[in-house]
Symmetry: C4
Subunit: 219 residues, 4 copies
Amino acid sequence: MTRYHRIAAQDLGRLGALSDGIFAVAMTLLVLELHVPAAQAWHERLLWSDGAVSAEEPVWHALTHVGPQFLICFLGFLTLGMFWIGQQTQLNLLARADRSLTWIHLMFLFGIAMVPFATALLGAFPQSRLALVVYWVDLLYLGLVQLASLRYASRAGLLAETTVPEDLRAIRDRIAIVQVLYAVSVALCPLSTYLSIGLIIALQVNSAVSPQIRPLNRF
Amino acid sequence: MTRYHRIAAQDLGRLGALSDGIFAVAMTLLVLELHVPAAQAWHERLLWSDGAVSAEEPVWHALTHVGPQFLICFLGFLTLGMFWIGQQTQLNLLARADRSLTWIHLMFLFGIAMVPFATALLGAFPQSRLALVVYWVDLLYLGLVQLASLRYASRAGLLAETTVPEDLRAIRDRIAIVQVLYAVSVALCPLSTYLSIGLIIALQVNSAVSPQIRPLNRF
Amino acid sequence: MTRYHRIAAQDLGRLGALSDGIFAVAMTLLVLELHVPAAQAWHERLLWSDGAVSAEEPVWHALTHVGPQFLICFLGFLTLGMFWIGQQTQLNLLARADRSLTWIHLMFLFGIAMVPFATALLGAFPQSRLALVVYWVDLLYLGLVQLASLRYASRAGLLAETTVPEDLRAIRDRIAIVQVLYAVSVALCPLSTYLSIGLIIALQVNSAVSPQIRPLNRF
Amino acid sequence: MTRYHRIAAQDLGRLGALSDGIFAVAMTLLVLELHVPAAQAWHERLLWSDGAVSAEEPVWHALTHVGPQFLICFLGFLTLGMFWIGQQTQLNLLARADRSLTWIHLMFLFGIAMVPFATALLGAFPQSRLALVVYWVDLLYLGLVQLASLRYASRAGLLAETTVPEDLRAIRDRIAIVQVLYAVSVALCPLSTYLSIGLIIALQVNSAVSPQIRPLNRF
């Protein structure tokens, strides 16, 4: 290892700040996808403005367009929220960063930056199995990188002194359970892609709410 | 509660940083909406460039287009500013975060990310009651999530030791007063949507300026 | 003043973080304006792909399009850089924030979020005096809000103990000198808008470089 | 030096925060370029919706479009990641900032904000030597500004006490080696631009992975 590699990218705080920035932009851009139909409606209004069409008509039209995309966009937001909490929880267990850990997290953030693309593809083609598989590949990739980060951090001695092995096992189990449920949901797409999408949303809402009912509180 | 749920998302600082990022992107994107007419004017200039039209003509045209949208965009900015101050004030009363509080705030941030969409819709259709109601539903949702956050934080023991019950009551009252005034403003939309929009802007400007005159300094 | 107004928006750190976010988005979006011609060129390439046109032709075309806009975009970046340094310097003199100071800075940030719009307008119509005046009005507005912030902070007792009156006077003089030079540059636009734009760029480059030559090091 | 110049822009933390914001927006926007084909496909789907075309067809079409751009976008992300680590490492060696250092880094950030434009140009015209040279000029500019920052910081006495000359030399050597390899890769573009692009990607992947094999671990 060269001297540069030893002094490079030690700052856990800046890794967190870059991550927050990328998550924030991705989360806001997700919702920005909804904008396009409003702009289309705007032009339609100009076309209709001479006629007797009520002012509400193009708004209904725009909202109807937005409707299904709104659900997909909510799915993308939940996905980003889950991974943001996961990454934050992992980084909180560390005492410091190094260059390899930083690159692992940059690769994680590349997957995060892909979420708006994968979400927009699924929003445009909610009936396509291929679009669903693209979305799922991104989820799987993000899970694998999270596991790699955990493994590297504990091998390279980056963990804080207060971190106990149970913490690592809890995170690892958590990632595994969620990824298995994602895979099962996607495997049901030959029945209906809407079923798969609905299951993933239900899984993520359950994870956010984490009701005090067994076994729902395990996911 | 599983071990993962106990260690996840404790970091109040990163929640604040993610929020600042989402508010910053949303606030800047609001104003970006104004860009579109400028781009249209650019193309018109190309069409006109052979003629004898003065260089100022298309700029006036672009600005006239932008005029009404500018007001709506200012409204959106004030809305985001008020909610940013509200969230910051609440988070300052807490000693730490947990996973449920973080999810409540992620749901809050989803509503924040919707503000540019709702603002663009209202900017495109300022005469539409439906667009106004969509905007108001977002405001109401944000207020309810703020109340839920306050309630959860005090029940789950996340408050800082220096936080007194009067602080909580002040925030709760504040949210209630503002939401009632929003609802009254929107309820007047059958008279004129411009009246409703004007009242909301006046209410928010008053809140920002908070003049030393009773009862205006209460809102 | 109500209790809410007393506890609201005390956090100087989050005000800085929101500002950094808005400046970062505005600075990056400025450069994003350059993207559009590249996208146009892409479509042209598709049209030409059957012909014998060299691969370099559309790139030259795109770059020629981008050329003048690049200078305007650099102007916008310098403007944002100067105001970012100015705001950072001011906030560093403070010990804490309050609700009114935060609103003053939110109004400042609204002007910052307008810079990409004003820059794009000037980039689209570099020969238009009106577009130049719109740009200048934004600069003037930002300067006035900076002065208001300084005045409010010293009256409301928000200054840090280490801040001496000379610091305040230095900042005030600095804002005044720069604003006078902006106004003089814009006042020359009846001669040529390019002259005005060139003077503003020269003034800002001089401010960034601050050569060790009197009187250039005063601006 | 005026008093303003002495008190301005001392805050290393806010320089880091602005940088993280600009890098975050640039990194996310890079991937946003991929969105456009999905939107095109959306419209094609509407055209085809009456026919018997399977739901998967337009998704394949969109992904095929995106394919080559995905690689270029990954190149851009690696580039931004390398420069982010480089800047973070440099800033960590400093004790404080001053106004000139801040302007040097603002110029660095201008080059960073140009990366999405240069990447989009290369993505649109991967066979164009001119587009490759534009990309390389941005890389070279960023390297030179990094060297200028290092040189200025050590001359102006901004280094932390724990920083030793070996650290500075390690960073300087590192920048030099990487820049020479970039130049060599680009110099091979008369053979094939794809060869040059492939070499730059290989160089950056090697830098991220930094395998424990000599001499690969030196870059």
